[in-house]
Point group: C2
């Protein structure tokens, strides 16, 4: 039995998110189905980031155990033959049997994309949140800086989430603008439910002037979801990639 | 009666191209329908570039004549309320009654996008042509340079096209690479049927090494469609914009 790691890219538009649901098509469901067909074994993947409906990925990570004779590096090619064109495996390899994409220490990177111009652009309608309201990137940067570090991010966590601790570490949080697209890029030790989208929603309010960039420290201190901004729409979010530290490069 | 100019952006994936067809949905057909609803007059737009099925646009141009009381600059906003989200008008204004987007002198710019990496990316499946074959951008640039200027582009024109002359001027033709995306950008006085896609298909052959970059002069001289490379797939092509010179900025 081998444990295989997949790096998976997808456009989330046509899926009910990563995780298998009672109804609707999910990334996890499609991967299980196509890997089961490919290996002729029942396969159940475990994903690193259980992205919501509409969220995209360039480098989400999933593992599964298999007895297949297909060489680990070739599984990506064979699986892509079967996958729909909005899910593409970017890499496959064998990993140690105790590697677990959610339990092992990791650094995850997400990007939130905002299209900021007078009218939307059709080619970005599924991968950028559009707003015609003028956003001040310098204010957004100033606010973002106060979230970097180890904090209790309870204010940036959806209230129905059940977790042991709401303390997380953000290693970097940058706001860049290229032409009409503003990219909020965040790397952290892990993220609470909806945390990146709530950060994006709060930074959007700072960008429009609804909030002062100086409010971030108070929002953290409040430990209250109501203190932060709204959850920005899912389709602006992309799971960029995951690094697994010394245990697994 | 006023003549109105529209700048139109669209994703071509779900359309049978610009021009109204006996069957299937077209950009022209949708614009006519929605403008007719908006103005309560029968409207028939005239488009500058009659893009093929699957080709996208950031700045295609269309005109129509109307007696509507809606201020010209507001037509874009009102029309976008009615259009599907893969067609978005970027600008509307009044133009002189003799302005014609195909008869007036213009410079058109197109881009052909190639995603060049081991595996495709879902978010670029509709707007980039994908190839895993290694492309040498320097060779492509060398070949491209020989097409700049005024030439008989008969070798780069689909054989079923009926035109008075196959002489055209290319003002610039550049090949740039950013991360995994190669962009062929061409500006010209006008383009023959499939000309940009045949140029892209020929430059792709130069990039893979199937052809020498030195062949371009001979291909032009041949004045024979069979001398050039294949027509690259439609979905890699985007109509970027049109400048109308001194007559109309």
């Amino acid at each position: 039995m081998k444990r295989i790691k997949l790096i998976v890219a997808y456009e989330g538009t046509n899926y009910q998110g990563w995780q298998i649901q009672p109804a609707g098509t999910t990334i996890e469901g499609i991967l299980n189905q196509k890997l089961t067909e490919l290996t002729s074994e029942p396969v159940a993947v475990i994903g690193a980031s259980r992205t919501d409906s509409g969220v995209h990925a360039l480098g989400n990570v999933a593992i599964f155990d298999t007895n297949t004779k297909i060489p680990p590096e070739k599984i990506s090619y064979a699986l892509n033959q079967r996958l729909p064109d909005d899910i593409v495996v970017q890499h496959s390899c064998e990993v140690p049997p105790d590697f677990h994409p959610r339990k092992c220490e990791s650094r995850k990177t997400y990007e939130y994309h905002i299209l900021n111009r007078t009218f939307p652009l059709p080619l970005h309608r599924n991968d950028c949140y559009f707003t015609y309201r003028n956003l001040d990137v310098e204010r957004m940067r100033q606010a973002a800086a106060d979230l970097v570090g180890t904090h209790d991010f309870k204010s940036f966590c959806s209230i129905h989430a059940q977790v042991k601790t709401t303390i997380r570490t953000i290693y970097s949080l940058t706001v860049c603008k290229e032409q009409d697209i503003i990219t909020i890029r965040v790397t952290g030790s892990g993220f609470l439910y909806n945390m990146v989208r709530i950060i994006a929603g709060t930074l959007l309010q700072v960008g429009t002037g609804e909030r002062s960039p100086l409010e971030m420290a108070d929002i953290l201190k409040a430990k209250d979801r109501a203190a932060a901004g709204p959850t920005a729409p899912a389709h602006g979010l992309t799971m960029i990639g995951i690094e697994f530290g010394e245990y697994l490069k």
